[in-house]
Amino acid sequence: MSGGTVLPDAERDARVVSPAATTARYRIAAPTPLDTAVRALAATVGLGPDAPATVQELTPAPAPAAGIEAAEVTLALPEERLEGGVLALAEAVLDAPFDLPGLAGLRLLDVVPGAGVAAQAPGPAFGIPGTRELAGVPERPILGSIVKPSVGLSIEETAERVRLLGVAGLDFIKDDELLADQAHAPLAARAEGVGAAIDEVERETGRRPMFAFNVSADDVDRMLESHDRVVEAGGTCVMVSLNQVGLAGALALRRHTRVPIHGHRNGWGFLARSPDWGIAYPAYLALWRLVGVDHMHVNGFANKFWEPDESVAASLRACLAPMGDVPRAMPVVSSGQWGGQSVTQYAAVPSLDFMYLAGGGIQGHPDGPEAGVRAITAAWEAATAGVPLEEKAAAVPELRRSLERFGKRRAG
């Protein structure tokens, strides 16, 4: 992951509140002279050579190889380019620019929507406050888990797991992204089965966990119908695989939805992992936030994947930063989480406005999911109180067991 993907908050805010044009910041690399490539990029992001985007800022960047020049360039888009709203913005910054010949690298680092695009786009309908209200969690992190095994359970097995996780005290439970509408557990029947399990949890505990049903589909009407089945069954969240469904499909769901949209970014590595090509999280987030996704995945500290902590921290900060009048999306921290990362995360980003998802960290806890929930809750209490985890673990045996079981993994 490249460095410098997020501006310091103050600088970012200053640019957001300015009523100026929509801007896109890239790192571009091309054979000398770079000017030619920058002009081509500006033409493509704009409306051709006669109506290009305006170069607002051009800062040389370290050259990746001999004979190659690199720079960070901020482009202001002509208003005419944005008549189609967020979809037009997406085409401008993501489509033809990445198909330009003669480049050695192109990364879209940030997108700052101007007032016009932001006003046209729906933005999150629920965001952080709406999600907290529906989940019944006013202040602390929303604690969640994913039904595992990820795919293959019958509806009865799924419902029973959801009931166990709900009774164990989770605020939020979700489908794995690999489970959508396959024949062994069709979405409509799953919504009913899981809905009944959630009702049962409510009867037993007085609390109603939020469940995110994966309504991703290669047909928009099918997604909307799935949403309707979920809502009918008392569900309070729908999930989509953002990269697979795409922006217009998500936009249609946003126009239709009565519950928060949980945005899963599987495929992120293919967009972000190359040092030379791709898209950095702040730019990616800006588009989905305009579309109106309520929950945005950011990986987690000491995650099981490739992404380093500083990149996760930058993503988390981007989610929490203002973007004009567009509400914030709730960041979703996940991947290899078991609570032990709380201290590092809180030190890097001292906020409790996030969802904290643990799959194996809860369902793989040696004493069962309830113990997993207690361990993670204790870990976050420790982080916010500035108490070392080992000290907290002395008082909370479930956390001690978690430390023994998972603490040997790189804990950030």
Binding site: S150, Q244, G246, L271, S335
Partner: protein
């Protein structure tokens, strides 16, 4: 175990390719970072991705990492019959595995059952040729530069001139469907008049590709409006709209669907990370696009990207028409089944 009939091939770079292959298979199907109750053998049999073959490509590099090619078996029950479900598996969290420093999806071989469930092109190469009545030679397209904001009559006059100059297809300079300064209904009325006149006077059929970029329900309405006015072709940004919107549209229209740029070129641009063009183009054909640009990065590839678009997936009807800038015509390697494009100004 049931016989596997879907395969995804990856190239990866890893310290321990065998371990990376196992993790990748787990991420694409039933795995998590610790084993959980319920991962029964029966469930694994039915839903787990299998490592069918792992081939080392050379010796370890200076860092001790070895390039390898992994053929993964994808169970039919895992994939279901939906492209977004397929992609969440083959191009989802597998992109993030820490055990490989690079992962690239290079090939996808899908069962006839899965392919049949996909929308696929309504016209493709053969359908476009028969629309135009041009059986053999390369097709010619004039792309009017974006940024020009003509009224409907102005646009129609320019289209007439480009058709007269020999274009088989003229592409809209617009990138949104229905701006107030050139509403789609008026645009199609004016331009289709020109198309009909051209066909009557010159005896040569032509297509105008109208931008219909919009939200999904609106794209369907725009497509109905076009079809009602006798138009036969629509242009869009597949990258911006995304897969579910394109499949949604394809299932609801018979128009020829023309992608303005190579969809998701970003995914294939790094040579070792992401998704190879061969796979990206197949996905978008399965989604139903008829005209698919070759990516700029394919320049000098000796016709590989062009031929990929012309290689049948289920059968010959799903061959897309490769869109090639005239400057790169040499890359078509003598292939005549192409749409050669030239950039045209507003006057």
């Amino acid at each position: 175990m049931a016989a596997v009939s879907n395969f995804a091939t990856y190239e990866l770079l890893a310290q321990d390719p065998a371990r990376a292959a196992d993790v990748l298979a787990g991420e694409g199907s039933t795995g998590t970072f610790v084993e959980v109750e319920g991962e029964s053998a029966a469930l694994q049999d039915r839903f787990a991705i299998t490592v069918e073959r792992l081939e080392l490509l050379g010796e370890p590099d200076a860092d001790g990492a070895t390039r390898a090619r992994l053929v993964a078996g994808l169970p039919a029950d895992l994939l279901g019959s939906d492209l977004t479900t397929l992609l969440a598996s083959v191009a989802g969290n597998v992109s993030e595995v820490a055990q490989a420093s690079t992962v690239r999806l290079v090939e996808l071989a899908l069962s006839d059952d899965f392919l049949r469930a996909c929308p696929r092109p309504a016209h493709g190469l053969d359908g476009t040729r028969s629309q135009l009545g041009v059986p053999e030679r390369p097709l010619r397209a004039a792309m009017i530069e974006p940024g020009w904001r003509p009224g409907p009559e102005q646009l129609a006059r320019r289209a007439a001139a480009l058709f007269a100059a020999g274009a088989d297809l003229v592409r809209d300079p617009l990138t949104t469907a229905d701006p107030s300064w050139c509403p789609l209904a008026e645009r199609v009325r004016a331009v289709e008049e020109v198309v009909r006149t051209h066909e009557q006077e010159r005896g040569r059929r032509v297509l105008f590709a109208y931008a219909i970029d919009d939200e999904p329900a609106a794209t369907v309405r725009h497509a109905e409006l076009l079809a009602g006015a006798g138009a036969r072709c629509a242009a869009l940004s597949a990258t911006a709209l995304g897969l579910s919107a394109v499949t949604h549209l394809r299932r609801r229209t018979d128009l020829v669907l023309h992608a303005r740029s190579a969809p998701q070129a970003l995914l294939s641009r790094d040579g070792t990370i992401g998704v190879a063009d061969e796979v990206v183009q197949a996905i978008w054909r399965l989604a139903g696009l008829d005209h698919l640009p070759v990516p700029a990065a394919s320049a000098g590839d000796g016709g590989v990207a062009v031929r990929a678009r012309l290689t049948p997936l289920l059968d010959a009807s799903d061959r897309a028409l490769p869109v090639v800038p005239v400057a790169l015509a040499a890359d078509a390697d003598g292939e005549t089944d192409v749409l050669l494009t030239s950039e045209e100004t507003s006057a």
